[in-house]
Symmetry: D2
């Protein structure tokens, strides 16, 4: 058995070089079809329409997280933090599996065909199912993941404002998009982590690295994740899938893979039964895009139009505003659309009003603390010698409006 | 019109930074659905099963090539080579479109469902079709692509042993796989290009860069492109698609997208008619993988087994040898397979014998020439002060043998 | 002549790859001994005591600036800004020579042996002298450098809050120190520059890049340039050179090179005569450090102690405070020093009180403007959707106190 | 004490990120003036005249080596190689100090003012002296350094054809020069090291990395270390120092620092007494360059001319040839020199004939072995599937000839 592990126990990563899979249990989790599915789910959804390099997958992100977590644990142990082998293993599994419940284009799905079911909830379902298969070996990992384990820093490494998840995805997304603004120094940050009374802290000298991290994350939000073209593409995808579900529920025939068919023609809620979970484990980006391509020639005009627009990257026009749009602008758009032959039903799908929001640093919960040589532990907002971080605690909201290209409004 | 170009005329690339689209014609080619399709075709086929970062697409490669070509032309013009605006534009289009005929997992397709039709031939069909749409504006590009234009260096930039295609793909594949060995210095190489009597040459001081390029390419072949896991995955895909075509031609029902259905249930040859070409333009990785996922539950055992193995990355075992494998080893494998319940028909699909071959530098045709200050032009093989390059002219052949994991042979 | 230029007209740069020297005039300026001297002056003074990679020189920075300037001009011309060949050449020369007046450890010198003479003033003297040698060919460059040329953007490219100087030195210093926090995207910023009514602006979409630039610069200040070890080393060097000058003016013999001897034993003011300028052109880091090494064995205890501390990196202890230090702390230090055998005279040299200050963005003069598609031109402070930049306009002052290591204060 | 270590125990490195100093003993060695001297000795001598970024020091290289050695030891221990804490510490000290005996422009010195004394011999003298100061704690390190310790792999890590020294300097020199051709993958190579019967081996899959390493090293030799401008500058420096020593021995007064004076006016041999060693420990690049600058105005024409040429980078012309130069060419050069007013004595200094030589891989001693899964251990020359490596075993010799620029020969 050992030799077969040896063959694959190292994974190449353009960002970290070699990633080592630490043991047989984690190797077997990675080999499991539930996890292999993540190879077919892109990390950044529709963003490759803006950043053509952004085709990296959730598989790669999860494995990268595991790598950084190993480093974090090594750093903490070197600083004298006591971490048992079981805890180490569990926190590595927790981060490896934290996104296993992501469906294809998760946010789109969550607003359409598996409405109201969050990917975190599905991750937990998968972890519990795997725990059965692996005879309880994931119990501690699940406890950490759910925040129930008493040593808080282990959960904070998995999920907090300075967690390993963010450290990997910001670096990885920056790398693959080529948006250098988000290139944070994950390994430097990790070198400055420490634990005081089971809570995660950053050593004093790390203050500038934390500032850069927060600013970098904010820039990635506005420049990449909330880039208007990504946003409009995702909204159109939500509308497209909502239309498909709408038609399916009225009995209209829609070509699709078996897994997608299952979710189009059924109502599901958060309590996935095993069949639903297993079917979900077969659903990935390929089902979605392949179906959309076939829907281009569907009889339903709305479905076919949206499909064609997404596949050939002919997106709606977008306007961004710091204030809500005026009712008279909306009316004007509708007037011009009707004039051009659109139906009223089309308004639901081709005229989109919504907001995007980001708060660079949340100063209300799960704060980042700096740890001074004299023993003081201070919230980063207060430690920073400027108003800088404080300024970043204010949530920023932007309104956007999408509509067909032929429409002209001032 | 201008403003709408402005919005998208810059493309982010993690490798080169910003890529500028030089004009409206090239912008329109990139926007064309034929070209947008390349967004859905990975550059490296199944290699992401070995190198999980390798999900970059032919779209990105083609755009990267266009960028390097612009640089090459700028360098040559600065050195006094006369290149007209029309030539510049044409050679940029030629390199942009040189891979437009690639199907999904091209090499697999070429050996199965579009048997015997090369992607180069299909690229040319697409270019001719686009030339009609664009009213003859691609004529010069096609002439260069086909090697019919008298100024040879333009064709050599598109296709030779030191072409822009290789400069981009080696660098890009090295970047995305994380295999640093192949990280060639494309921009340095381009800085040292020159043209003498309409032929492409490399200036004297570029000798070490060319050596590194040739060695780097060889390392990429053996370490990446011909990596045994990539090879076995691709061979299994060929066999899977061949099985599907075999079943289709016997009238067996196979769930698939419309575009894939067209090619499974029809014989095509190199003379694609317009319908075939248009259907081909709708075929991409998503049709293939989506169908394979559905075929996991197909009644045909061979089809379903191969599908399951590819999707869940349970590949055949591979052995590599510098000599052909012995008949008695093959017989032993068959014996063990039969004993384990495989049918004789399965041999065709699960017992694979083949060779891979690479010649790092071809010293017979289309050589790389060095250009000395005294006017001499010398074949790189003779210019190098060592046997080094000459040693690389010898083709290397390796034999490999794939079979189920349960089989043990010494 | 052409061939001799060809041989050297390309300079390797780890940051930008190849740097091309555009013409014979600029080549001759670079070859001039006044400019070659910059090869022997490090960009970052004593910072290599903290960041051992920081040995890059002002020569390399100046050449890097010239490279970025060429790119900036190319970008602006592509956007339709009219820039004549003479202007292009002049602005390249202006940036190439902007630092030519830097002496070794400039800031230390300016506070000791050439007290009160700024490096900018000396740069201008050198430029005027070179203009004589080159028969007036630098006149336009000097006009731009002095801010007298009517087209303001040319001067802004040389000297403003978003100038080519900063773009190179932040990137270069970040590269050589390894402090990733300062790795700004110079080439992206340049791609977004534009000119409106002869003033430099940044296009709308560059807002995040400008923010990152300002934040990156601030982080470099606090983490690198004002790092306490750099600061204490520089202050000690000021005191050492002041001591040497003090001794020299009392007729004490000090071993030193001819050039350093000249400046130690003479009073100079801003109106360097030609002899002074020529002697200054022979003064570099090597004179200073070589003399300091010899001064270790000098009879003057203060001189020898300071010399030994700098050469062997045994620096004073430093405390940093946001408030001024208390008089009673100073008194306590003096008490302990006297007890340990230090003289009162030593207080001047080994007990240092001072402040460092940085303002990340100056919102009072020479602001950075964003240029919107609708024609609006808005100060970055107002354009940013957060308090972020505004927060960065507040100058931050820190007090520091240096004293011998044996002293203990609470 | 601990806290004072804490402050500096991490060193920033642009190549590896953070370098950690593992313990107090190594920290104290680094702080020692003998070691701090390496901060003032550039790694690449005169090469910065060709590659202006190449100002990194032997200090940085030594610390980088220590970092890679720590990694190598960690990798080997993880593979089950038994290495005691004492051995680990000793091999880290051995690599840290392996270059401590380098003088400024070592090769130039070894051919002039400390003629015939190798830097390895001086390194050993320093190590023995430090061993006295540190009360025998360096004994094992010295044993390893001298190759006397029975476990050979420890010495091989310090000095062999695949040692940590080369892994750091090739990577570092490539990084700082910007010559990407030499950018070897040190960390990948280290990941593939193993030990069999106390001998260092490379695992099978590392074959391509080793090939790239050997080819990369060869390219660095010809493109950088033996670049004709570096070679001519170094030869001129040898001649300059030889001239200075020649004059000194005839009683001519030469301005210089105390340390340089010592070596100019005295004969030394390999048996440095303590005074000589201590004086050597104060000699660095600054003494040399500072003196040369003063010598520009010396009465001796040969000394002053060579000094001026080196400082202002007005080097001799160089010709490279694969065959020895002909006597009649030499005669012609002498004729033209005499005609232009040079004396016969000048021939010794301004007319240089010599050879440079490099053997990419030495197949005679200390070979690199590959370790196969089946237990085989094979010389890399035989393991490689091509003639490639074998071709690199042939030493390449080039002849060069340097002479004043005014001379013209065909």
């Amino acid at each position: 058995m050992k030799s077969s592990i040896n063959k694959v126990k190292i994974i190449n990563d353009p960002i970290y070089g070699f990633i080592t899979i630490p043991n047989k249990l984690i190797f077997d989790l990675i080999e499991h079809p539930y996890f292999q599915r993540l190879r077919r789910i892109t990390q950044m959804g529709m963003s490759n329409l803006v950043y053509p390099g952004a085709h990296h997958t959730r598989f790669h992100h999860a494995v990268g997280c595991m790598h950084l977590m190993q480093k974090a644990i090594r750093v903490l142990i070197n600083k004298g933090v006591e971490i048992s082998d079981d805890e180490k293993n569990a926190v590595c599994m927790a981060i490896l599996l934290h996104d296993i419940g992501h469906g294809p284009y998760s946010h789109a799905l969550e607003h359409s065909i598996v409405e109201g079911v969050s990917h975190e909830a599905i991750s937990l379902l998968f972890m519990k199912e795997l725990n059965k298969e692996f005879k309880g070996k994931l119990s501690l990992a699940i406890e950490i993941f759910e925040g129930k384990y008493p040593r808080k820093f282990l959960n904070q490494l998995v999920s907090s404002q300075l967690d390993i998840d963010r450290m990997d995805y910001l670096k990885r997304d920056s790398f693959y998009t080529g948006v250098a603004e988000g290139n944070i120094s994950s390994e430097r940050l990790i070198d400055m982590l420490n634990v005081v009374e089971d809570k995660l802290v950053v050593e004093e000298k790390g203050i500038y690295s934390v500032e850069k991290f927060i600013v970098g994350r904010r820039l990635m939000y506005w420049q990449v994740y909330l880039h208007k073209t990504s946003v409009v593409a995702e909204k159109m995808l939500v509308n497209l899938l909502a239309r498909a579900k709408h038609l399916a529920q009225r009995g209209v025939q829609l070509p699709s893979s078996k897994a997608l068919h299952y979710f189009l023609y059924r109502e599901v809620d958060e309590n996935f039964d095993l069949e639903t979970l297993k079917t979900f484990s077969r659903l990935d980006d390929y089902d979605i895009l392949s179906a959309i391509k076939d829907w281009i020639s569907h009889d339903d005009k709305i479905l076919s139009k949206l499909s064609e627009m997404i596949i050939n990257r002919k997106l709606l026009k977008v306007k961004i505003n710091s204030e809500p749009f005026k009712e008279k602008d909306i009316e004007e758009i509708k007037r011009q659309m009707l004039k051009k032959g659109w139906t009223e039903e089309a308004f639901t799908y081709f005229l989109i009003q919504d907001t995007v929001e980001n708060q660079a640093y949340n100063d209300k919960s799960n704060k980042i603390y700096l740890y001074y040589k004299n023993g003081d532990i201070i919230d980063i907002v207060k430690a920073s010698d400027q108003l800088n971080i404080q300024a970043l605690t204010k949530p920023v909201v932007k309104h956007f409006l999408c509509y067909p290209k032929h429409v002209k409004i001032s």
